[in-house]
């Protein structure tokens, strides 16, 4: 394997609501892992406050001391004025790179400091990407719906040396709503939720009426039940992605990181990695978007 093409590994923002102790445990493990970049912050619901701002900053300092590049991620769906205030605080932190997951954050960062364009920004062509590159985007996390062919088409037009990050492992966000579906499942409204999503560290399973694991409810976010797996990119060694993102999950994040790290270094085969990783994807794997098929399809 050619070292130059070996992608870096990132750990995406924790999408689920976990008790504080479990979050601390995750980030302690990550500090000792082979992950290169860590994204911190709440991206789904501003009512989740097991970690306060000072906790995120303290975690960022610990991870930086352990040699990790740290990025602060912003909320994907912004509704309240108070949320805008917090996003502004993140954008003006003066030190750490910020992942903008909404155009409000882009507006606060554009022309001021370099930023990461998050996967929910709706950038799907070269002209849109170039516009954000001109405004300071230095890394782009590829949106959920994008295929390999589309990404290649875009990369061919962008001469700026930006980084391309792929959502390589984890359940993918498919929709965001004002309504909290976890609260709805408990027959309560969002204002009365009492953070009931904390009881579902991998989300709440939504099955079809013939028992197919179809989606996962995660508060206001609806996710794929299947786990996105784009590790064939490592096998192909094509260099289309500079960074592979792993999304934290309740069980085995440290082992998933180790396996994907071993795979990128050529220490294990794709078959061995796949066999081991499938155990961490209870509803199976998918990679349909990446191959231009219906999203939930598993092609490779």
């Amino acid at each position: 394997m050619n070292d130059i093409a070996t992608p870096r590994l990132s750990l995406g923002p924790l999408q689920f609501h976990w008790p504080r102790a479990d979050m601390q445990s995750l980030y302690r493990q990550v500090a000792d892992s082979r992950v290169d970049i860590v994204y911190l912050g709440e991206t789904v619901c501003s009512k989740r406050r097991e970690y306060q701002h000072k906790d995120w900053i303290a975690t960022a300092e610990q991870l930086a001391a352990a040699g990790k590049d740290v990025v602060l991620s912003t909320l994907a769906l912004v509704e309240a004025q108070s949320e805008l205030g917090y996003i502004r605080r993140l954008c003006e932190n003066g030190d750490l790179l910020v992942e903008a997951n909404d155009m409000a954050a882009v507006q606060m960062l554009a022309g001021k400091v370099p930023f990461v364009g998050g996967p929910t920004l709706n950038i799907v062509n070269q002209r849109a990407l170039q516009k954000l590159v001109d405004l300071g985007l230095q890394r782009w996390v590829i949106p959920v719906e994008m295929s390999r062919t589309m990404l290649a088409g875009i990369r061919a037009h962008i001469s700026a040396p930006i980084e391309y990050e792929l959502l390589a492992w984890g359940r993918l966000p498919l929709a965001f709503s004002a309504r909290c579906y976890t609260a709805r499942a408990h027959s309560i409204s969002k204002d009365e939720c009492a953070n009931c999503c904390i009881d579902y560290p991998d989300g709440l399973s939504l099955q079809t009426r013939e028992d197919e694991n179809f989606l996962v409810i995660n508060g206001i976010q609806t996710m794929s039940a299947r786990t996105s797996c784009l590790l064939s990119e490592l096998e192909d060694n094509s260099g289309i992605a500079d960074i592979l993102r792993i999304s934290p999950q309740a069980g085995g994040t440290d082992l998933i990181i180790s396996l994907i790290d071993a795979l990128r270094r050529g220490e294990i085969s794709t078959d061995v990695a796949a066999t081991n990783l499938e155990g961490y994807a209870p509803a199976g794997l998918f990679d349909g978007y990446w191959h231009g098929e219906s999203g939930m399809t598993h092609v490779r």
Binding site: E79, D102, M103, V124, N125, E145, R209, T222, S224, S294
Partner: protein, 331 residues
């Protein structure tokens, strides 16, 4: 307050204008707009005719080019922008930054509106499009409470348009991938949610099953009314209970809060439904025309009239209406 009405064909455009629409929004007959359905939308000749019909009666025509072009198809969207500009559209409704950049650069005098598909839910997000592309209006996604809309309307650099009636997207528009997850085609890049070619209906002993690309969306008993199988309106099993885990088949109706929307300074009310019949468009437009006129004449005294609500309920999905996210109770 401006009334903005949908038209999927020339007859609907005429029905909307005749019933009192201030503006009508339409799309080309391809995937450049978010109602890319078979048999729907306008060719160039029909657009010119529709534009003449509207303009001679004092109504404006907006053209929606509000989907997201892929790398290889950017030129098609740019051509749509050029065509719309050349035939004199009063405004273009755009979502993609690339398309907007092209339109602002090549047609600096053209009115650009940010589509609901642009997912802008704050004055800062709207500010981005205003600063970079000079948009003149933003359409808000259906995920905000009245209080949140009021705060944005107060601080937004451009006037705000909100949805008033019609099918209810419960997910923030422009970031919902449920349809493409199941079928490969969704609103963002294909211009349709749950495209008809993937819909399957079958009679079984347990009732009528509706499927989308083989995924079971609902099973409907003989005495129940079957809705179109969009993923967010299906029945699923969560924690052992079967039900509408996301939303029931229902339509948005803002007549009960119209006075609030006027008072907080919403500039325009949009009726959803380019896929609906001319008769539907005409009836909904007439009800909202009368309601808006009464509301503007005396906002304090405004109350939604029973006959309006009955007329709209009869036109609603599942014969039910909701205030959706405008009401905190809905969240």
């Amino acid at each position: 307050m401006e009334l903005v009405c949908p038209a999927g064909n020339l007859q609907s455009l005429k029905a909307a204008v005749d019933a009192g629409a201030n503006s009508v929004y339409i799309g080309f007959r391809d995937e450049t707009n978010a109602r890319h359905f078979p048999g729907l939308n306008f060719n160039d000749r029909q657009i010119v005719e529709g534009m003449q019909y509207a303009h001679t009666r004092g109504a404006r025509v907006f053209i929606a080019i509000n989907t997201y072009p892929q790398p290889a198809s950017l030129k098609k969207w740019q051509y749509a922008v050029d065509t719309a500009a050349n035939i004199g559209a009063n405004a273009l409704i755009l979502a993609d930054i690339g398309v907007m950049d092209y339109a602002a650069e090549n047609w600096p005098n053209l009115n650009l509106h940010l589509s609901v598909q642009g997912s802008a839910t704050s004055q800062d997000a709207i500010g981005f499009y205003a600063q970079q592309f000079g948009i003149k209006r933003a359409v808000l996604p259906r995920v905000l409470s009245v209080r949140q809309v009021a705060a944005i309307a107060k601080k937004s650099p451009v006037p705000i348009e909100t949805f008033g009636f019609g099918s209810l997207c419960v997910m923030v528009e422009g970031r919902c991938y449920l349809s493409s997850y199941v079928t490969g085609q969704g609103p963002n890049m294909y211009g349709a949610c749950s495209p008809a070619k993937f819909v399957q209906w079958s009679k079984t002993s347990g009732g009528t099953e509706t499927r989308l690309n083989d995924v079971l969306i609902d099973r409907i008993a003989d005495d129940e009314k079957a809705g179109y199988p969009t993923i967010c309106k299906g029945r699923y099993c969560v924690n052992g209970d079967v039900g509408y885990a996301i939303e029931e088949p229902t339509s948005l109706n803002t007549l009960p809060i119209l006075a609030d929307l006027v008072e907080i300074g919403v500039a325009a009310i949009k009726i959803e439904g380019r896929q609906r019949s001319p008769a539907y468009v005409g009836r909904v437009t007439a009800v909202f025309r009368e309601a808006i006129d009464k509301c503007l004449a005396d906002t304090q005294a405004y109350r939604p009239e029973e006959k309006w609500l009955a007329a709209l309920a009869a036109l609603s999905e599942g014969a039910q209406t909701t205030l959706g996210a405008y009401s905190r109770n809905w969240h």
